[in-house]
Symmetry: C2
Subunit: 315 residues, 2 copies
């Protein structure tokens, strides 16, 4: 099978949008960005065995490859529009590509994202996606927007994806609810949009809450205090891990793709309304403080040291 | 070394532009597309051992990874502006990243392209670049723009990169001029820009002239005839290969990243002026005809059959 056949296969299944003047099938895509908006662009690659377990189903790989990029757009408060896909595979396997597209396009269609270009090449299994979206000028949510006294919020529950990975690596039974969170993360696009004008800073949690909140602190030139007991946990995580393990997963486990954001205390009801509109639970988990770095505290106020802080490639 | 250190390293060396509202360092880049223009987006991945020989220097890999994407923008007549870079490496090697950036940023700076985001991850060596550019509304050069009777042109010389690859794979000495063309292709950005309003169809030659012209024919619903003797050859290619081998390389060898374009005979002097302005040689190599498919002819008019037609991944 030639590369062109893969591309024809992908092209046949893509939906389009009126702002795609030219999609798959030329040297490049031709796109119309709406007036008075800014373009938001994120790129992330998933490699087999690094970003997903080797045995992950092709549909889940497709879903996740797009999800992690839409999550970056969500963290900016952007509306997704288009994506490109660069797919490297060890061999030509039409059934694999079809299954991959099942997951990829399910998520793309749910967010009205058009796949407008890319390539398929021979190589170790790797998926690089670039996602494009828009925000009205000046309304993007930045990492640098935190202020002293802001409350820190997170969406959904934390530690689920990392919990699944721990179970998987231990060779034990993997809780299906946790596995679903690892394989099919939900980009919080509606929440990110709803938080424009409300949140100060925003980031998505891909490397673990403490690590990602650390990026917000660095960008804002401030510090943060987190109440360990306030971190939201799913029922599945509570039943699968003891308290210490669970808290470690919640504070440092990556791959949940929830949003972590800050807002002044006076905006508390606005945050709660935005979350209701977006259909997502949110929890207040800490506060922005003067200084640097992120401190997590136990109920008794003592600082808690994570056994492992964030997910480090090359570590 | 952590991923963040690589990113800091890359960020420190990047130049920026006034239309980059937010570059490397947040969840996504924030970019301002100029009014009255359309956005042009191309994505291409290079994998070690597939798109470049394993022993290619990191600087050449960096150059080529950007060049093949700028070549796609050139084929649309677009002005490059921004790119993202997704770099997968088997191990953390700061010296390798620095050398890679030497080549990547040399070409980026030459075209005023700002690197605005991306990621670095662990995995087999692979480089995915997404390039963004602009064209004034309605002025993009498309594959579908060929008309019956149009003359077919190519820029530069053909077959050089494929010639280097043949020498390399044979284990013989590789001509430095040919090797330079394989490792450091020149995206014909100025020529693509100069051809707006002159060329009908345009494509860049990445898979070989016959294969890529075939895409123009398919998109335009027409056929093409090529005069084998008219294909431009470098002195290096002439001296390194006999005539039959040379012609095969010129007609079917990929990786040259020259432009192939069509224009009405009445525009011949406009084409030549555009090429002079862009500082690139161009050659008339054939004609668009009714029908389908591409026929290459020898001097005596007999059709010539290539021993191998284009470069097919997964073939």
């Amino acid at each position: 099978m030639l590369e062109f056949d893969h591309i024809a296969r992908i092209r046949a299944r893509c939906t389009t949008r009126s702002d795609v003047l030219l999609g798959i099938g030329d040297d490049a895509a031709l796109l119309q960005v709406p007036a008075n908006t800014q373009l938001v662009v994120a790129t992330d690659t998933l490699n087999a065995g690094v970003h997903f377990p080797e045995a992950t189903s092709p549909a889940d790989i497709g879903w996740k490859a797009l999800a992690v990029n839409l999550s970056d757009l969500a963290a900016m408060g952007a509306t997704p529009a288009w994506c490109t896909l660069s797919l490297s595979m060890p061999e030509a396997d039409a059934a694999w590509v079809d299954a991959f597209l099942d997951g990829f396009l399910e998520l793309a269609d749910a967010h009205r994202v058009a796949l407008v270009g890319g390539d398929t090449t021979r190589g170790p299994l790797s998926v690089c996606v670039t996602a494009h979206g828009f925000v009205e000028a000046g309304s993007a949510l930045l990492r640098s927007g935190a202020r002293v006294g802001d409350e820190i919020w997170t969406s959904g529950t934390l530690g689920d994806a990392a919990g699944a990975l721990v179970q998987l690596q231990a060779g034990s039974a993997v809780d299906p609810a946790l596995r679903e969170r690892l394989d099919r993360p939900t980009p919080r696009v509606a929440l990110g949009r709803a938080l424009r004008g409300i949140a100060g800073a925003c980031i998505d949690i891909s490397d673990g809450l403490l690590a990602d909140l650390g990026h917000v602190c660095s960008a804002s030139g401030l510090g943060a205090e987190i109440e360990l007991a306030a971190l939201p946990a799913s029922a599945a995580l509570r039943s699968a891990f003891d308290e210490e393990s669970r808290r470690s997963l919640q504070a440092t486990g990556g791959d949940d793709y929830e949003l972590c954001f800050t807002a002044p205390e006076t905006m508390r009801s606005d945050v709660e309304r935005a979350a209701r509109e977006a259909g997502v639970e949110v929890a207040r988990v800490g506060r922005i403080v003067a200084g640097t770095g992120v401190v997590a505290r136990r109920e008794n106020g003592e600082p808690w040291t994570p056994p492992r802080r964030g997910y480090a490639h090359f570590a």
